[in-house]
Amino acid sequence: MALTTGIINDKERAQFLVPRRAFTDRSIFEKEYEAIFNKCWLYLGHASELAEPGTFLTRTVARRPILFTRDKEGEYHALLNACPHRGALVCRERHGKGRAFMCMYHGWTFGSDGHLMTLPGSSGYPKGFKTDPQKQMAHVPRVERFGDFFFINFSRDGEDLATYLADAGDTLKLLGEHSPSGMQIVGGTQEYSIRGNWKLLAENSFDGYHAACNHSTYLEYLGNTKGALGADPLKGEAVDLKNGHAMVEYTAPWGRPIANWVPIWGEEGKKEIDAVYAELQSRVGPERAERIAKKSRNMVIFPNLVINDVMAITVRTFFPTAPDYMEIIAWALAPVEESEWRRKFRLYNFTEFLGPGGFATPDDVEAIEKCQQGYAVGGDAQYNDISKGMARDGAPSFDDEAQMRAYWVEWDRRLSEYEA
């Protein structure tokens, strides 16, 4: 069957093909903003980033500048960061403490909830001007919280967040269960971009097939490092989490500060990891504890939130500014109560694989950028093949491409619905 977007999903012939114009076409890119980024729930931030009342941060979400605040009562607000007067960015700092935001142009000053507190030269305006709803900073149409994860939606209507997240919600819950005292974003943010289409990063984030080739040097490095590897083989399956969300869940030989010990951590480390595991078991039960501790997961929440719970946990979001360019922001998530030793290992693990300076991510970047360059060969008959595992009986393997097909089917559904 050929879908509206030109995707070919032919189960009989075990064929799933995505036309390459999905990565290059300007009009598809514009449609993605209308049909996807303006309709879907998008990740905004984590509660721990505004740990205290009266704090704020600014962030760009799908091209729009957002001011995320917590007022003195502790309530969270997501404001569109533009002045109702002439539109200047109101807050120009990355983060901080403060309950009043003064626009640097004419001095209009707003509270944490966006209301206009001070209007300089107010005698020049009619009565009631200052309380006119149009003269207040606008709120993002919808903000919702799932556990400690905040999401926003630029559309007033549509399903609520929990419905939207479908089975991905349980994996978000699972992340919260890593700790008896809650999870936090560790200070330090990786901010970068890739000269490639944004959907290539979504695919790459849970592509279990590319590791052996693309990350051969990383795997060799692990092999070289005495004691860095445990006995667990790289093995697992892909799980469709509905609504375009999907993950791969698998055992892996690398150490996990959430209770998967590897020899390099030593006997002292083993004691601590054993204690972490025992606490986990008594809190969530043996089955869930084993899943949390021993299994790695790479999850993509449609359209642009990646949570990789691997040798550390990364929360990563991204959005395109052009068909061939995306901006990425990535954080490390960790248990609040984590000991100094475990925190250090977690960050050491994180930077080993992940991020612009890691031993793996630069090669992912290279792959994505080279795909984008390759698309310049053009021609209507150019398709990407996403069919691995379609002919397999039983559960799809973690190195099949079922998780990507789930993503593409949702992408197609949203774009087709918009066209109709």
Binding site: G187, E191, S193, S216, N224, W331, T351, P356, V365
Partner: protein
């Protein structure tokens, strides 16, 4: 004048700066010519190499509590060099053209440690991309029997983000 204050004399501090500059320029040269094994030999056995992210104070932050781009210990520094020598380090195959400019070198003694602050621009060119990394180096240097060795190198990026670079696949 006592021996302890001798070094404050203009000649001695100039001489120390020249020695450190010689080390930094050698380092830059080795990195530009991809002689990474020799680059590694400029470091002590217990050396560290750090690149903090843009949203922390790079002069004071520690990778034990904040997420960095790079937090290499001696093992990982060696492995970084090993990795970059392989064809499977795709991001640097074929190798990029690299040029390190090191300027504004300031040097001061802190007990047995020589601390150097300098400015850098590192240029990386590869096929269709050409990116500049701008920032300052903090080198911790020790004198090992008359030979200066680097014990810690921190590359603080004076940039708001790694955009459009995407990666630090070369050594800064």
């Amino acid at each position: 004048m006592s021996t302890a204050t001798m070094e404050r004399t203009l000649e001695d501090s100039l001489l120390l700066r020249l020695r450190v500059e010689e080390l930094l320029f050698t380092e830059a040269d080795l990195l530009d010519s991809w002689k990474l094994e020799s680059w590694l030999a400029l470091f002590t056995e217990d050396a560290h190499y750090y690149v903090p992210p843009s949203d922390v104070d790079g002069d004071t932050a520690t990778p034990d509590t904040a997420l960095f781009y790079i937090m290499d210990d001696p093992v990982r520094m060696r492995e970084r060099v090993v990795r970059l020598s392989k064809i499977g380090a795709h991001s640097e195959h074929p190798r990029s053209k690299v040029r390190h400019l090191v300027t504004n070198v300031r040097v001061e003694r802190d007990g047995d440690i020589i601390r150097s602050r300098s400015s850098f621009i590192v240029s990386r060119a590869k096929d269709i991309t050409h990116d500049l990394f701008v920032g300052h180096y903090l080198h911790e240097i020790v004198d090992q029997g008359g030979e200066l060795k680097i014990r810690k190198k921190t590359c603080v990026l004076d940039m708001e983000a790694l955009r459009p670079h995407a990666r630090i696949s070369i050594i800064l």
